[in-house]
């Protein structure tokens, strides 16, 4: 039944995270400048319980996660991804892992302190596509041998595990890889255009010998597309949050700034773009909710997730771009956040497969 009604629990969680996001917002610029997220902030966002709840099938909710990622991304997209990345990992284990994988891995995340693990789909290759990864796993007598390079991976240096998507026997499979295994090496931090606080790095897997039990779902394997769908939905939620941040910032600015005798916002050319920001931000959110609600019901969300992600990518970039433009020269300075959102919007919109709801 078509409904936009939030449950009481969702409303409560949303308002709590909204409050947290407001308190974290002032730290966003410093984190971008210093290219790291302070551990105190990581612990604070961990305290939302989003990652931990993935382990519990009754408590985990893709729709709720989408709601909360949007709120966190209003404060900062990097902060949102710092939670959405381990969420992607844990939710893939919880929904597609074998009983042994669940027993071994899920308890590791039931902590009070921030803990990271990443879904590794992206590869540092200009022709990369989620449907055509080059990393490969070859069957061996005891398991698999994994080779390839993945990245950028958020907070790679802090990840205890990677869920590596690789070609295997002509299909895509996912493998749980402990960072301590021989052949796994985590590259140095490589800041990107945006999301600079995320401490992303490339991780190389050089003939890593994996036990048979490393394959997600073990003998039955897994549905990699579902991991991709979940990732796209999470990114769409985060892009909705960035768009809202831009919109909420430029509205008071354009009302205050007087040009040729009238507030910028009183000029139709600006006012209409603001109206379009509102239209598109609404649409992005509802598309995200739709994809998330299908995922939550274990339905086939591939089409909806693709449409939500593609639309949000286009619109978030447009909104961030207009945000910079409305501030003119001030928008180009790092004194104002719009240039950061401009970089973040471009980065998130191509950041496929690093996160999940």
């Amino acid at each position: 039944m078509i409904s936009f009604e939030l449950t009481d629990e969702q409303k409560l969680a949303q308002s709590m995270v909204q409050e947290l996001a407001a308190s974290l917002r002032p730290a966003a610029r410093g984190a971008d400048d210093r290219e790291e997220i302070p551990s105190s902030i990581l612990d604070e966002i961990w305290s939302t319980g989003i990652v931990q709840s993935q382990a519990d099938a009754d408590a985990s909710s893709a729709t709720l996660n989408a709601l909360l990622f949007e709120e966190l991304a209003v404060a900062d997209a990097a902060f949102a991804i710092a939670v959405a990345a381990p969420t992607g990992f844990v939710s893939a284990i919880a929904t597609q892992g074998s009983p042994a994988q669940k027993n071994n891995l899920l308890p590791l995340f039931a902590t009070d302190k921030y803990r990271c693990a990443g879904v590794a789909i992206m590869e540092p290759d200009f022709a990369f596509d989620v449907s055509a990864v080059r990393t490969a796993a070859v069957k061996t007598r005891d398991g698999y041998r994994l080779s390839g390079i993945k990245g950028p991976i958020p907070l790679a240096g802090q990840c205890s595990h990677f869920l590596v998507v690789a070609q295997c026997d002509g299909a895509l499979e996912a493998f749980v890889v402990d960072r301590e295994l021989k052949g796994v090496s985590i590259g140095g931090k490589r800041p990107n255009i945006g999301l600079r606080a995320l401490e992303t790095a490339a991780v190389s897997f050089e003939n890593v010998e994996l036990p048979a039990g490393a394959r997600l779902g073990e003998s039955t394997g897994c549905d990699v597309q579902r991991i991709v769908d979940s990732g796209r939905t999470a990114l769409a939620a985060i892009m909705t949050g960035i768009s809202r941040a831009v919109m909420e910032f430029v509205i008071p600015y354009t009302k205050e700034r007087v040009v040729h005798g009238a507030a910028l916002a009183q000029k139709q050319v600006i006012a209409f773009r603001l109206a379009d920001m509102r239209i598109e931000t609404d649409a992005m959110r509802w598309m995200t909710w739709k994809a998330a609600s299908i995922l939550e019901k274990d339905g086939d969300a591939t089409r909806q997730a693709q449409l939500a992600y593609t639309y949000a990518a286009e619109q978030a970039m447009w909104i961030a771009d207009e945000g910079v433009q409305m501030l003119g020269g001030h928008g180009y300075l790092r004194d104002n956040p719009v240039e950061m959102w401009y970089r973040d919007a471009r980065s998130v919109s191509v950041f496929e497969g690093a996160v999940g709801v």
């Binding site: 409904s3 936009f4 055509a132 139709q268 603001l274 649409a283 089409r303 909806q304």
Partner: protein, 380 residues
């Protein structure tokens, strides 16, 4: 709980609507080519078929709600292009229902009443209308003079709700509405207008020359109450726009598939052809707009009168229909230009929704004023 799945009841009613839309599509093509003929009140096939609009509004349990379902029924109907059951309701009826006295409502409750606002010199700025009614003390009648243009249901309606200036006996002036019945002396309905599309849509200009109106026909809708009828209709226009847009998308997907261009949603942007990518983006624009319509209709059902959301739905639907119908022809190339298939009609029909019932620019003014906390004096 957040959910976007149609219920079995929704699906059943929408299936029935779709079947009728398939029939409607054949008639739509005929009336597109015979623009001076008015479609009948009911097509022969309709006699044995339920009116889906009525079903949507009447169903009590098991649907996503009457407002949501009604909008989806309209979408489906516009997918076909012509309803088998013509609506007896005009926007003038909405004004009557909202502001008239019980006696007035009783007199005209079974009439179809068009709404007449736009004039040659006043469209998006209805406060600029020139049509004027003066009061004749001797007879106690109003004398109406003026011209109204682009009036929907002009020929088929029994009466027009005319938005007019008035000069009262005490000299006071203002804006108001008069119900003018079809056979009133001095009231002329012009010929069908020659339009780019929606040629089956009854649209004429109206002329009022010393038209004498009894005081009983003074409905007294003011500016605000008259304009507020559009709050209901705006998301509906968004839904109609999306009906045409989806017709174009369905046609294009089918033709691309026949030439082995399938749309896959699995891979990323580097895995698909430019044609597939552009199609997918048009489809995303459709989904985006559809959800804003559903949002607005859902709010209505929660008894939260949508204002900004109604405008969002109208603006999003109108824009999507333009982009999608234009884009589909571009994707299919020269063969898409032919009048041998309906894409040509979708392209022409799809252009109206961002114009009528408040152009996209007017919706953006409403949205911008709302998010900026501006009055209509702050932002013109």
């Amino acid at each position: 709980m957040i959910d976007f799945e149609l219920t079995p009841t929704d699906q059943e009613i929408l299936k029935l609507t779709h079947d009728q839309a398939e029939i409607g599509r054949r008639y739509a093509s005929y009336y597109d080519k015979h623009e001076n003929e008015l479609p009948p009140e009911q097509f022969p096939e309709a006699a044995k078929l339920s009116n889906p609009v009525r079903l949507a509004e009447e169903v009590v349990n098991g649907s996503s709600g009457p407002r949501i379902l009604h909008s989806l029924v309209m979408l489906e109907t516009f997918w076909g292009g012509l309803a088998l059951h013509r609506s007896k309701w005009g926007l003038g009826n909405t004004v009557l229902k909202t502001v008239a006295t019980p006696e007035q409502i009783d007199k005209w409750k079974n009439h179809t009443i068009s709404i007449a606002i736009t004039e040659p010199g006043a469209g998006s700025d209805p406060a600029n209308i020139r049509t004027t009614a003066t009061f004749d003390r001797e007879t106690g009648e109003w004398i109406l003079n003026g011209e109204k243009i682009f009036i929907s249901q002009a020929q088929s309606a029994d009466a027009a709700m005319v938005f007019s200036r008035f000069i009262a006996p005490d000299g006071s002036r203002g804006l108001t509405t008069f119900l003018v019945e079809k056979d009133t002396l001095g009231f002329t309905v012009g010929p069908q207008l020659k339009k780019l599309g929606i040629r089956s849509h009854d649209t004429c200009n109206l002329l009022f020359e010393n038209c004498r109106i009894p005081e009983f026909n003074h409905i007294k809708g003011d500016f605000k109450s008259t304009m507020s009828v559009f709050n209901d209709s705006r998301p509906m226009v968004g839904a109609m726009a999306l009906g045409v847009a989806r017709a174009a998308l369905d046609f294009t997907r089918e033709k691309l598939a026949e030439r082995d261009i399938a749309i896959s949603y699995r891979g990323g942007v580097r895995s698909r052809s430019a044609v597939a990518d552009r199609f997918l983006r048009l489809e995303a624009a459709y989904e985006a707009a559809l959800l804003t319509v559903l949002r607005s209709k859902w709010l209505e059902q929660q008894n939260v009168p949508p204002k900004v959301e109604a405008s969002i739905a109208k603006a999003a639907g109108g824009k999507a229909a333009r982009k999608i119908t234009q884009g589909c022809i571009d994707l299919l190339g020269p063969a898409a230009l032919s009048e041998d298939h309906p894409l040509d009609r979708f392209f022409r029909d799809g252009r109206i929704f961002d114009i009528y019932e408040g152009a996209g620019e007017i919706q953006r003014l409403i949205i911008a004023r709302s998010i900026l906390g501006y009055t209509n004096k702050d932002l013109r």
